[in-house]
Symmetry: C2
Subunit: 389 residues, 2 copies
């Protein structure tokens, strides 16, 4: 699918021919990452709904979805509109709905997309029910707060859950189920903690589904997921679908909590050395926070990767070499504090690859992926990304 | 100039009619901020070269530049190309040049733009001299490291400075002058420290210009600048131009170091309440790091503004209300730790304005500005922004 998009590419375009900074995506790693999570969930008997907020690219999405129609999760209505225009039909908009956004939801549904939404209050349920009165019952998942991360109804608040469920169902919208996201899993340390968080996420969603069913309300869908819990779930009894997004690319945060290895990270920023300061043991590159993002997700982890881990063009990390600071279009590359390694002798104009802390954030700073089939091979495709809301 | 761009606007489009999240720009504050710095520098007898990396919009740039042709500074060749296409003729690309980028520099110059570049090594100077051999001497400023911030030649390293100057001049490029940027001024505390940093920046640039002239080399331009030092310079003897960018919008970081007041900040993100958690004393909004950026520039300041300070639609801050956490499309709004204020009673669907930590970073997450002439007035224009490299 990626091969269909080739823009200004000759057979021999190397990544060294690209304007920097830019994104380089390793297709074989993407395919391996996708196969890994699908295999894990297949064995547990649950389907995967890929979250497309990380890739924001129809070509990458098609590698992750089981078929052209989906399923998919998105984080903005812009994503829903873009993927719907590309033929995806089963889309979950996984951010609490604002009433003002319902006309765009309805427009997508009228055009043939099975777009579902989420909410966690009677206020929202009443607004969605009112919008559904026009004849199209909007499908709703009720958001559950399984870990105190941000939004949702607490699983023990059965009264609120039932009240929201009734407002959706009896108001005339479609009560499709419950959804939770264990975002706190990003802060877990060790396999046991990740397994426990996955079970906590499952148990919360399943118990809320039971609460709704006990109240005589429908709850066909039980949706859970985050990349860490998806990989460390050992049992998904009662769950009907798992959502995850960053697993497609992986990143240094995921490596830091043990969900992947450094060599699984499929996304990197290509940059050029534009200054050398041997007096201060550092290099200046043309990738600052505009190209890398300001995300410092590894700052609280055991190994702080700065603004990214520096690799050669084969994707092999230089020992202890990280982006220690950034300005808008400048990156400062140096050795990790306390390192006994030496700064590689990279001349002005040399290229490096930088692995990102957080793939979603870094990818969002760019408008396309330069795809290579494997490390060191020519650029085989350029896939556009979109942004905005 | 802004009025020329009206896209899908009726006379009565209020910011409450906009899709969220989005950028709102207060034109009267922009004009006041621009007039303030120009007035200060006029009194010191030095011209301002606006750095357009913050606005990335030709309409905003035209408010800041003295005329249609410039002068301007940019941080990417994409900016140079976009502004040149809009008629700007005097452009400084203020990031150390990589030899691979010289063909784009030359293409812009051939098309009639006086594009100058910066460098800080003999290696780069030789590459630029070689490129100039085709008959167009590329204008070069030598970058000086006046504060240990990142790139540049240390002022005391006269031998290196002269060697680079000779490689430029005798190699056949145009040695146009010296340039420095006191980026460390962002970490200054108090007026005396800011004034001292401005003087340090001036003295470094002027002494390096003298070094070059003493060696028989030309140095017509002495370029200094950062938004803090530009505002706190008391004497600019020997300086020919000052560069600054974020002064057009200002932000919470600039307010935190005393360069502006909170009410001078012209840029805000409009967001919608999409969840309420009275049990945890917080609100969920539809502006996460994708809309606000991950920039936490106030984290090390006296007042930590989280991911942004929350205001009503007139731009008046709610007491102690900040965005305490973000995910990709979720913001968590709560009171500052230790606050005795109470959470405002904002319903689902309510709008708020969020002042940014760092205007450059927040603006870069969006593709346009929704301009209002003053707080509370209708949207008078939509000005596109561009990104990329």
């Amino acid at each position: 699918m990626l091969d269909t998009l080739t823009r200004n590419l000759s057979q021999t375009t190397s990544i060294e021919d690209l304007e920097t900074p830019c994104l380089v995506l390793n297709r074989s790693k993407v395919e391996r990452n996708i196969a890994r999570l699908n295999g894990h969930l297949w064995a547990l008997g649950v389907a995967l709904r890929p979250h497309l907020k990380t890739c924001k690219s129809i070509e990458v999405a098609r590698l992750a979805m089981p078929g052209a129609y989906g399923p998919a999760a998105v984080s903005t209505l812009k994503e829903a509109e873009q993927f719907a225009a590309a033929g995806v039909r089963d889309i979950l908009y996984a951010v609490g709905i604002a009433p003002q956004k319902l006309p765009r939801v309805q427009a997508l549904r009228s055009a043939g997309t099975d777009l579902s939404i989420i909410l966690d209050s009677v206020e929202q349920a009443e607004a969605v029910a009112a919008a559904s009165a026009g004849g199209d019952p909007i499908p709703v998942l009720i958001e559950i707060d399984s870990d105190g991360h941000r939004a949702g109804i607490r699983p023990e608040d059965r009264e609120m859950l039932t009240a929201v469920g009734r407002a959706v169902h009896e108001g005339g919208a479609e009560l499709r189920g419950v959804l939770t996201h264990a975002g706190e899993s990003y802060h877990c340390k060790g396999i046991a903690a990740l397994e426990a968080m996955a079970e906590q996420e499952r148990a919360a969603a399943v118990s809320c589904a039971a609460t709704l069913r006990d109240a005589g309300l429908p709850c066909p869908v039980v949706s859970v997921g985050s990349t860490p819990t998806a990989h460390f779930a050992r049992d998904l009894t009662g769950v009907t679908e798992v959502r995850a997004g960053v697993y497609i690319f992986f990143d240094l945060v995921m490596a830091g909590i043990g969900v992947c290895k450094i060599e699984d990270i499929a996304l990197a920023v290509l940059a050029t050395v534009v200054g050398r300061r041997p007096d201060r043991n550092l290099l200046i590159i043309d990738a600052g926070w505009m190209a890398l993002s300001r995300d410092r997700g590894t700052a609280g982890q055991e190994v702080d990767q700065g603004y990214g881990l520096v690799c050669d063009l084969d994707g092999i990390p230089y020992p202890d070499l990280v982006v220690v600071d950034t300005n808008q279009e400048h990156g400062v590359v140096s050795l990790r504090a306390g390192s006994s390694a030496s700064l590689p002798d990279l001349p002005i104009g040399a290229h490096i690859l930088i692995l990102p802390n957080h793939a979603c954030a870094t990818a969002s700073q760019h408008d396309c992926y330069h795809v290579v089939d494997a490390a060191g091979t020519p650029v085989s495709a350029i896939c556009p990304r979109f942004g905005g809301w």
